[in-house]
């Protein structure tokens, strides 16, 4: 195989000659690309598309996968992330399928090397560049679904930028809990009009969408929608003047920022682990590539100190 794969997977699947490069037929890819162009032209608008069945479950990233397969060519380098990690089973599964069905592409685990990044539930900690495209997998494309089950009615509400019921829901949260309870999929207003479901990224990642240098595409396969946050576009999480939007808090009971126990990082989104042997909690960077990089940086810095 010509894949200059920079990941450590054992390639356990064989490509089948029966399938087209990128699995989808070329008409299907064209349709997806046309929908992408429309999504970029109308930031935050959910463009309906026919969404083909993929050979993996609806809900496993088939929307993101169709975007990736429609955009990828042999010159591209792909990174696939799930829960911040390149090693989680779903990321491995998606990457292995794409490698199998797109012979000649490169894959990597390093954000800086990739020009296409497909991710579920996280935006990388390292700021993205203009030459990169981030593809997010989306289970529920519509932020209004929490207040209105009918798609037909939601479409009218979006057209009129009528988000009053969503704001009332946030207000009711404050009345009931003294806190906005939306933890992830935080509703975010794009370019001053459409409010999007930001996909199940934590609130931590939402500010990264604002004026992002990279194009962000969001694909919902089961719900058959594509939408986009184009580069250098306003992305503002819903908030009130007196109740600002807040990201996850990683301070301990003394108000000290918790550190990643592996790399010592004090400014990344942390996963919480329970050490079953010693019955205490540990925290570690959710973004595995970022954690590795911080660790390398720390090690080389301390080596230099030793030499100096």
């Amino acid at each position: 195989m010509s894949n200059k794969t920079k990941t450590t997977d054992t390639q356990f699947r064989q490509a089948s000659a029966e399938y087209n490069f990128g699995f989808l037929d070329e008409y299907a890819k064209k349709e997806v690309r046309r929908s992408v162009l429309k999504a970029i032209a109308i930031p935050g608008y959910q463009v309906p598309y026919s969404s083909r069945e993929m050979p993996m479950g609806r809900g496993f990233g088939t929307g993101g996968l169709q975007l990736t397969l429609s955009l990828i060519g042999k010159q591209d380098t792909l990174k696939v992330i799930d829960q911040g990690s390149d090693d989680s089973v779903n990321a491995v599964n998606l990457r292995s399928f794409i490698e199998m069905i797109c012979p000649g592409i490169d894959t990597t685990t390093q954000v800086s090397e990739a020009n296409l990044i497909q991710s579920r539930h996280r935006i990388p900690e390292e700021p993205l560049r203009e030459d990169q495209v981030l593809i997010l997998q989306v289970p529920y494309p519509d932020a209004l679904v929490v207040v209105e089950p009918s798609e037909d009615k939601r479409k009218i509400m979006h057209g009129e930028a009528d988000y009053s019921r969503l704001l009332v829901k946030l207000y009711e949260d404050i009345v009931k809990f003294n806190e906005i309870t939306i933890s992830h999929r935080y509703p975010t207003r794009i370019n001053g009009h459409y409010v999007i479901d930001s996909s199940p990224i934590p609130r931590w990642d939402v500010p990264k969408m604002h004026q992002s240098k990279a194009l962000i595409l969001l694909g919902a396969g089961r719900e058959k929608k594509i939408y986009a946050v184009p580069p250098y576009t306003l992305a503002e999480p819903l908030e009130f003047d007196d109740v600002p939007f807040r990201v996850e808090n990683f301070n301990d009971e003394h108000g000290q920022r918790r550190l990643c126990h592996r790399c010592g990082c004090d400014h990344s989104f942390l996963d919480e682990f329970i050490d079953s042997k010693r019955a205490y909690k540990r925290y570690q960077c959710s973004d595995s590539d970022y954690c590795d990089e911080q660790l390398t940086f720390k090690t080389s810095a301390s080596n230099q100190n030793l030499e100096g």
Partner: protein, 374 residues
């Protein structure tokens, strides 16, 4: 340590695939692998169901899908559907007339005597659901003799291949609205090439239901039958048979028969409604059709077609009349996929959920303490 659990995902997936393959073959030396013809014939109804839910008439691949999925209907239909999505649409057939179906069964619940007569065909309708213990240890010889004996004893050359449609008789009497030629001329909506944006045309609803998951469509239709709706249908005709597929010749454009597909078609007649424009009141119709021999599905679809038409006209008064509710919840590939996805890791979102809960709890605790201090 957290990462240890998820490292080596590739090996884990490969191992799971191998283990599943072991499960498929664990019967060992005492067994023969299932051959595809046996699946198509001896698991006839399962095979029909998979072609219908997969939305692809491909008897051989449907058998393969059943074999490789170990008989899981959702998985088998899924594999067939995913195969279908790699194929471009090359040609379109004109609207086909089902009166040209080569029938193996046709019944009507509305009239005792229908033109051409009732033909019960192969059916479990009146079967006694007793355990047929004689099949526990069926010998190949006995098995092979049955079909031969049946063929030797039955020569029905006098039965015609095609039958007139019951609805035509009702139309001739003016009990049904005449065929809307303008609608028949319209190009049907292709759900494999266009997304459903509501409101959708009836053809989009029909094709979505034609590949619906059988249990899902039955459940919603049953809600209407029980009282969450009032269609009160009568089966005017249910027919099962082989429909010739006519395609335009690539050079001459002349219609030629490319083959035939096994399908089930059901037409239900429902009570008449006031015609607001003052026209003659007539019965109303519901239509169902799908690949393969799937009678429960075709009837359910016909009932829901009638219910949805009602909902589109007057606004839905119950779930089975709501196009969004029905059409977005009956696809087995969509619903099983999303159900299955909950097994995937959700560490990040759960971390985020915990952050919200802890913050809310902390606020409540400090509020309570504040009250106690006063």
């Amino acid at each position: 340590m957290g990462y240890v659990a998820i490292k080596g995902g590739g090996q884990a997936i490969a191992g799971a695939e191998k283990l599943l393959e072991f499960v498929r073959t664990r019967q060992g030396e005492s067994a023969q692998p299932l051959d595809l013809d046996s699946i198509e014939n001896q698991l006839y109804f399962l095979h029909s169901r998979i072609m219908s839910e997969g939305g692809l008439f491909h008897p051989k691949l449907a058998s393969l899908a059943i074999k490789q999925s170990l008989g899981d209907t959702l998985e088998a239909a899924f594999a067939l559907r995913a195969y279908r999505s790699t194929k471009p649409r090359l040609i379109e057939s004109p609207v086909l007339d089902t009166s040209s179906m080569r029938l193996i069964r046709r019944i009507s619940a509305s009239f005792k005597d229908i033109p051409g007569g009732q033909m019960l065909g192969a059916s479990t309708d009146y079967a006694l659901r007793l355990m047929r213990t004689e099949l526990l240890d069926e010998s190949p010889e006995a098995f092979q003799a049955i079909a031969k004996k049946w063929l030797d004893e039955n020569h029905h050359d006098d039965i015609p291949d095609t039958f007139p449609k019951v609805l035509d008789a009702l139309r001739a009497e003016g009990l049904l609205p005449s065929v809307d030629e303008a609608t028949a001329e319209k190009k049907p909506f292709d759900i494999t090439r266009e997304p459903l944006v509501f409101p959708v045309p009836r053809s989009a609803a029909l094709s979505t239901m034609a590949r619906a998951e059988t249990g899902s469509i039955l459940a919603i239709a049953y809600s209407n039958m029980r009282g969450y709706g009032d269609i009160h249908p009568t089966v005017a005709e249910l027919r099962v048979g082989y429909l010739p597929i006519m395609l335009p010749h690539p050079v001459t454009g002349e219609l030629i028969e490319a083959g035939e597909v096994l399908m089930t078609e059901c037409e239900v007649v429902a009570m008449y409604e006031d015609d607001e424009e003052g026209g003659k009141p007539t019965f109303s119709l519901g239509y169902g059709a799908c690949f393969g021999h799937n009678e429960v599905k075709a009837i359910s679809m016909a009932i829901l077609d009638r219910a949805l038409q009602s909902g589109m006209q007057h606004g839905p008064t119950n779930p089975s009349e709501d196009p969004e509710f029905v059409l977005l919840h009956i696809d087995g590939i969509d619903s099983m996929g999303f159900c299955t996805h909950y097994k995937m890791p959700h560490y990040v979102t759960f971390q985020s959920d915990m952050d919200r809960l802890r913050t809310t709890q902390d606020k409540q605790n400090s509020a309570h303490q504040g009250v106690e201090n006063v």
